[in-house]
């Protein structure tokens, strides 16, 4: 379903390779990382959590690219607004 939340891997379990301790804004929960077996996460990685399972790794480069685009949009918007203000003064 839909409710997935980003969390950060804190610790991998030595006794159970399919479990990891994950942190969400200060709350900890053991998460099953078995679905990421093809490319397991390591401590520090961000993952998407859904009903106690990690569904995917969060690609920080993609996230940054997305934010850069949005910020640039905001910047261009602010630039235009500024240009609009300036043109009114004249």
């Amino acid at each position: 379903m839909c409710l997935g939340i980003p969390g950060q891997v804190v610790e991998l379990r030595t006794d159970r390779p399919d479990l990891a301790e994950v942190d969400v804004s200060g709350v900890r929960r053991p998460i099953n990382i078995g679905l990421l077996i093809d490319d397991p996460p390591v401590p520090g990685d961000w993952i998407l959590i859904h009903v106690g399972f990690a569904l995917s790794k969060i690609d920080e480069a993609e996230a940054k690219a997305a934010m850069d685009f949005l910020v640039s949009l905001g910047q261009a918007y602010d630039d235009e607004l500024a240009a609009l203000q300036a043109s009114r003064i004249e």
């Binding site: 379903m1 409710l3 939340i5 969400v24 709350v27 900890r28 053991p30 959590i49």
Partner: protein, 385 residues
């Protein structure tokens, strides 16, 4: 494969019955406004309890609880002192202006980070009196104990109650004990009642609330509810530093009065959280409450747990937080008075009273959009969707 192939189709009798009840209000409409007006009329109808049995939703403080109280208790007991359905009943007895309240405590687990059922029992009743503007005087405490409950645990709870009573400046002057067979009472249930003395010249309550008033909260929301949810251990979530916010609010209220803040109304936010209390106020006062989500204080860990579970911290129970309504121009002095007190250090101005839409709470989201924040039917249930 299910037997749907058999072709047998039934109808849900309860659904047909509900449709029939509103048959007079159906009919085509092409105007959204007409439908919304129809809904408002439906919402204002006398509440009727159609449930045959009590469910957990009836105890959650939301719509189901409200319907139960109005359709069963208020109807049966029907008297003007009960009618306002505020946290405490206020009346005069001879020269004395009194406030009187009662509460029951059925929390599980009994002991949790930041307190136990004993703390809740004393603070909860003290707070109902405090927000009625009364100085809490004396409490009663009734115990329902389960056969087999350890005496050591009972002593622990009672010690907490004594400590909490001392901090709040009240004494427990009468009580009762019953024991029920093993399997009932989850160990220990406590019921308290409290009596307090009001200043007869001070008029508080929903009826005094006006458009333009400011709405404040005394601290971060949702600490208690999330602490208890995690303490149950069923969700395997750990938040080691999180504690219940259980505390007596009488000191905070005294601070407001001492600073001569002209308080209109106060409510302590318990089950159902701040959102429920604001809805009750809006409804009782016939005004709108407009909340600025970005201003509502929430601890990061409460936010994290809430996001994980898909619940909204504004609906999560507190046990030591109050909502205070003051005239708009008194907001700054009220905040200052609250923040000067240790329990109010993180007090915040979270919204304003408006005239319209009457009886509703609106939320200006941190994102800048607006929406209604309605009463939940029951407890905020963890979502996965």
């Amino acid at each position: 494969m299910t037997g749907s192939e058999v072709g047998e189709v039934q109808t849900a009798a309860w659904a047909e019955a509900v449709v029939r009840t509103y048959a007079d209000q159906q009919g085509p409409t092409d105007r959204e406004e007409q439908v919304l007006a129809r809904i408002e009329r439906a919402r204002r109808r006398r509440p009727r309890l159609t449930d045959q049995r009590i469910t957990l939703a009836h105890g959650a403080g939301g719509k189901a609880s409200q319907t139960l109280v109005e359709a069963v208790f208020r109807d049966a007991f029907d008297n003007p002192l009960l009618a306002p359905l505020e946290d405490a009943a206020v009346f005069t007895a001879g020269e004395a202006a009194l406030a009187f309240t009662t509460d029951s405590y059925v929390v599980t687990p009994l002991f949790f980070p930041g307190g136990d059922i004993g703390d809740l029992a004393v603070n909860g009743t003290v707070n109902d009196l405090a927000v009625a503007g009364a100085k809490p005087l004396h409490l009663s405490a009734g115990f329902i104990l389960e056969e087999g409950f350890p005496v050591a645990d009972l002593r622990r709870i009672v010690a907490s109650m004594r400590r909490a009573a001392d901090v709040a400046g009240v004494s427990i002057v009468t009580g009762d004990t019953k024991v029920v067979p093993r399997g009932r009472a989850d160990g220990c249930y406590i019921t308290t009642a409290g009596i307090g003395l009001r200043d007869p010249s001070r008029h508080l309550g929903a009826a005094t609330v006006r458009p333009g008033d400011a709405v404040l909260v005394s601290g971060p929301v949702g600490d208690h509810g999330v602490t208890v949810m995690l303490a149950r251990g069923e969700l395997e979530l750990a938040a080691p530093e999180l504690r219940s916010d259980t505390a007596p609010l009488s000191g905070l209220v005294a601070a407001l009065f001492e600073a001569e803040v002209p308080v209109r109304a106060m409510r302590d936010a318990t089950r159902g959280g701040v959102a429920t209390v604001l809805n009750e106020l809006a409804r009782a006062a016939g005004v709108a409450v407009v909340v600025d989500q970005a201003q509502v204080p929430v601890r990061p860990v409460v936010r994290g747990a809430s996001e994980l579970l898909g619940i909204d911290p504004l609906y999560v129970a507190c046990e030591g937080r109050m909502v205070v309504v003051v005239p708009g121009e008194a907001a700054e002095s009220a905040l200052a008075a609250l923040r000067a007190h240790p329990l109010g250090a993180e007090a915040a101005l979270i919204g304003r009273i408006a005239e319209d839409p009457s009886g509703l709470v609106l939320l200006k989201t941190a994102f800048g959009g607006t929406r209604i924040m309605d009463l939940l039917v029951g407890d905020p249930l963890p979502r996965i969707c």
